[in-house]
């Protein structure tokens, strides 16, 4: 039985007991008796609520493992929905629907997070090496072998273009507008 239903039932029982035990009360005292009754019901229901209700469900326990998970796997990616959609895609493919060509699992494996984590780890080791920290021989050998592999992220810059077709860079702009190049780029 749900707890709130229990609370209602308890309130009904108390009301029933009070009506049975009630004796003729003076009009001036009725309000005080009613307030006492409400207070009693409230206290009992809160006792029952605090006794029976809890936050003891599975998902709340998973959060307490987040820090351990981060220690082991660097971050908490949102993979669950992607895997679910990949499962649906595979299912639809087996059903004869070949319209979706992208492989979601491959995308997940090649996602940003593990690459970023490995890159950050290597950069940290390199900075430690530069400060002459005491690193293990394996780490030093690995760093030497992968020095060329540590590259920064590829930056895709948008090329700014002018409104005129014949203006593609600052030099053209200087020629067209008649403003000297020295004043544009001092």
């Amino acid at each position: 039985m749900r707890t709130l239903a229990k609370v209602d039932e308890q309130g009904r029982e108390i009301r029933h007991q009070t009506t049975q035990m009630s004796q003729p009360v003076a009009h001036s005292k009725r309000r005080q008796v009613r307030d006492d009754h409400h207070q009693k019901v409230h206290e009992r229901s809160m006792d029952l609520i605090h006794h029976e209700l809890h936050f003891n469900f599975i998902k709340i326990h998973l959060v307490s493992h987040f820090s351990d998970h981060i220690g082991q796997f660097c971050n908490i990616p949102m993979y669950s929905s992607s895997l679910e959609s990949s499962h649906r895609r595979n299912k639809s493919r087996t059903d004869g629907d070949d319209r979706i060509k992208s492989d979601a699992v491959r995308q997940i494996v090649h996602s940003y997070s593990p690459q970023h984590a490995i890159r950050m780890r290597l950069l940290n080791l390199k900075s430690l090496q530069r400060r002459r920290a005491d690193l293990s021989v394996d780490a030093l050998q690995h760093l030497e072998s992968t020095t060329s592999g540590v590259t920064g992220p590829v930056v895709h810059r948008r090329i700014l273009k002018g409104r005129w077709d014949d203006v593609s860079n600052v030099l053209d702009f200087s020629k067209v507008s008649g403003v000297s190049l020295e004043s544009i780029c001092p």
Binding site: M1, V63, S67, M120
Partner: protein, 144 residues
């Protein structure tokens, strides 16, 4: 992450919040506050009020996470019926969960960020008593 934080805890938080505000007669204020929310980069304006959504998507939950604390703070700005301490505890509960959800999405962590997350989790446990009476959805008796 999606199913634990958003579909698990945030859904729980939303239900508890609504019940809390309903008890203190602030639910209408909350519903009115959802409507005039303006769009912002990475924030989509919800088309429906939160109680009108039957099935939450991850994107909608993320949106709620971005605006829920502000909306609740405004709804409890001038407490009349609820005592101030209740409002503070309720807001502390929401804030702890929102902060935890945001920090859990970081792509890389330091010991400081993990410490922040643990602090939020402790804060959540300290404040959760205020919404205990509204957590009946998950509460069963000992017999199961």
């Amino acid at each position: 992450m999606l199913h634990t934080v958003y579909h698990g805890l945030f859904k729980h938080m939303m239900d508890g919040n609504r019940a809390f505000l309903k008890k203190h007669r602030r639910l209408q204020v909350l519903d009115d506050l959802w409507k005039p929310l303006r769009p912002y980069p990475r924030f989509l304006v919800p088309k429906k009020a939160d109680h009108e959504i039957a099935q939450w998507q991850g994107k909608e939950m993320r949106n709620v996470g971005r605006c829920n604390l502000g909306v609740c703070a405004v709804a409890l700005r001038q407490p009349l019926s609820p005592p101030v301490i209740c409002c503070k505890q309720g807001l502390g509960y929401v804030r702890a969960l929102v902060d935890l959800g945001i920090m859990a999405q970081y792509r890389s962590h330091m010991s400081d960020t993990i410490a922040y997350m643990e602090h939020c989790w402790d804060q959540f446990h300290r404040m959760k008593a205020i919404l205990l009476e509204f957590s009946s959805n998950y509460a069963y008796t000992g017999q199961g």
